[in-house]
Symmetry: C2
């Protein structure tokens, strides 16, 4: 029986060590690095880097093949949270049980720390210290996929739509499109990076793409549910905020029961996509189940 808890503990340690190592390599030890470290090491769940590693393993790759890519993905995720939390955007004071970056430092530093994490992610993805000597064209391709997912046809467009939609009721299709951009794209890129750098074949990469799309959706629906049913102490952030802000969420549009059904169905689709894989994809299977069962 696969033990997800110890898997996550061990992979999180690898990821955190690697992130610390990357930050420690900077000549610069000033305020900007402090702010970057503050947000990067604030106890995130590391879902994107773990997915990247698990996807690599599912196709026979190793953690060290993709560790830099995994770190880059977490940096991009963290930068997006820092900017999302800014007063001009969601204006959140708390994140993961700690003050947000602009509260702990100041707004200018938070803007620049986000910029610096985004930039550092691409520096890492193009670094010669990238462990494996996979051919450079594959690394360029992965970098391109990540940039596309993070940019104005992915994550950033999702943030724009999220901001624009506050207070107006979206259709379920528009909501799904928004989340697919804001959350789904980077999750899909995480799995693509792991699968491609891990040496996956075309067909494997396609199946993992289906897995990714489905867990991305389930992840967001569950986030919405937790914002209603979650325990703020466990979550490390306020709940009920989506309702107060008039945010478009699955529970608001289709109700809690139907939301849970959507999440469940997506996870089943994700598991089905892994049918052709051997037990090296057990971590991916366990993560899929964890995504809808998690409490934070």
């Amino acid at each position: 029986m696969f033990d997800l808890d110890s898997y996550l503990v061990s992979k999180n340690k690898r990821i955190n060590d690697a992130l610390n190592n990357i930050l420690g390599k900077n000549i610069n030890s000033g305020r900007i690095i402090k702010a970057m470290r503050f947000s990067l090491m604030a106890g995130g769940k590391r879902i994107r880097p773990v997915l990247c590693i698990a996807a690599a393993e599912a196709v026979g790759g190793k953690t060290e093949d993709v560790l830099n890519a995994a770190c880059a993905l977490e940096m991009i995720h963290t930068y997006s949270l820092i900017h999302d939390d800014l007063p001009a955007l969601d204006d959140d004071d708390m994140r993961r049980g700690k003050p947000t970056c602009h509260v702990a430092f100041d707004e200018a530093t938070a803007i620049l720390a986000g910029d610096a994490l985004l930039t550092l992610s691409f520096q890492i993805l193009s670094s010669i210290s990238f462990k494996t000597e996979k051919c450079a064209s594959k690394r360029l391709d992965v970098l391109h996929a990540i940039a596309f997912a993070a940019g104005c046809n992915g994550l950033i467009e999702g943030q724009m739509r999220d901001l624009a939609s506050e207070g107006t009721l979206l259709s379920i299709d528009d909501l799904e499109a928004m989340h697919s951009l804001k959350t789904g794209a980077l999750i899909e890129a995480s799995i693509y990076s792991g699968a491609a750098l891990g040496g996956g074949e075309k067909n494997q990469i396609r199946q993992l793409g289906i897995y990714a799309k489905n867990i991305g959706l389930a992840f967001q629906v569950t986030d919405d549910i937790l914002n209603i049913e979650g325990d703020p102490k466990v979550m490390g952030k306020s709940v009920g905020t989506d309702v107060i802000r008039g945010k478009n969420t699955y529970p608001a549009i289709v109700g809690i029961k139907e939301s849970k059904a959507i999440a469940k169905k997506s996870i089943n689709n994700a598991l089905q996509a892994l049918d052709g894989f051997d037990n090296r994809s057990d971590p991916l299977r366990a993560i899929a189940c964890y995504i809808i069962e998690r409490k934070r």
Copy 2:
């Protein structure tokens, strides 16, 4: 006799066409692209992309070899201006004779448009539509150099120091270090990218690095002088703002006369670094002179 004006007109047209082409390729035609286009096409001098192209030509390369890199550099420059102009940073309302991005749109859109331009620059640098089929490892190396220059050991650290130093008097060494980070690093990366992608040899790249370091310094000193002596109508922005904000500038620390002498000496050093190059480096020579003679 080399005609810089028509050179700049012709290269600017190539650059602007390429930028328009890149923006036009996005599926997304919403508010975020409008904001990106607004700032990207607001009449910048295109110094970084022109330097990239001129460096490529100096080593025998062609404009099309480096056009995508040139565009990426201009996107990074523009993103840094958008974020620098934000209320939490320099709080500037006007730029290049037009309202700044957060004034023309809103703060959230300006933050995300900057993020999107930065991300798009790396997407372009890793794009398969990158014209020449230079080996991928060279392209990764150039992307890495640009990310390093733009990041927390370059441009962003320069912005941090600039913000931290307002109202306190820096030594001339600290001022030079700050500018070398904030402005110099990306100018050097522009010339490095052009030289490397244009097929330059090690020795040529080294000499062009000396050229770059010197014009970077001269560029900043001249910017400081223009903030005192410039004509706001020609510049498209207010002058005298550095003094009002207590900014550290060359004129404030060493006086106008000595500032002009520093700029002049740097340009002479830059020209000297080109001694071993043939007339294909005439554009670089002319740009060096233009940098201290410009009125905006």
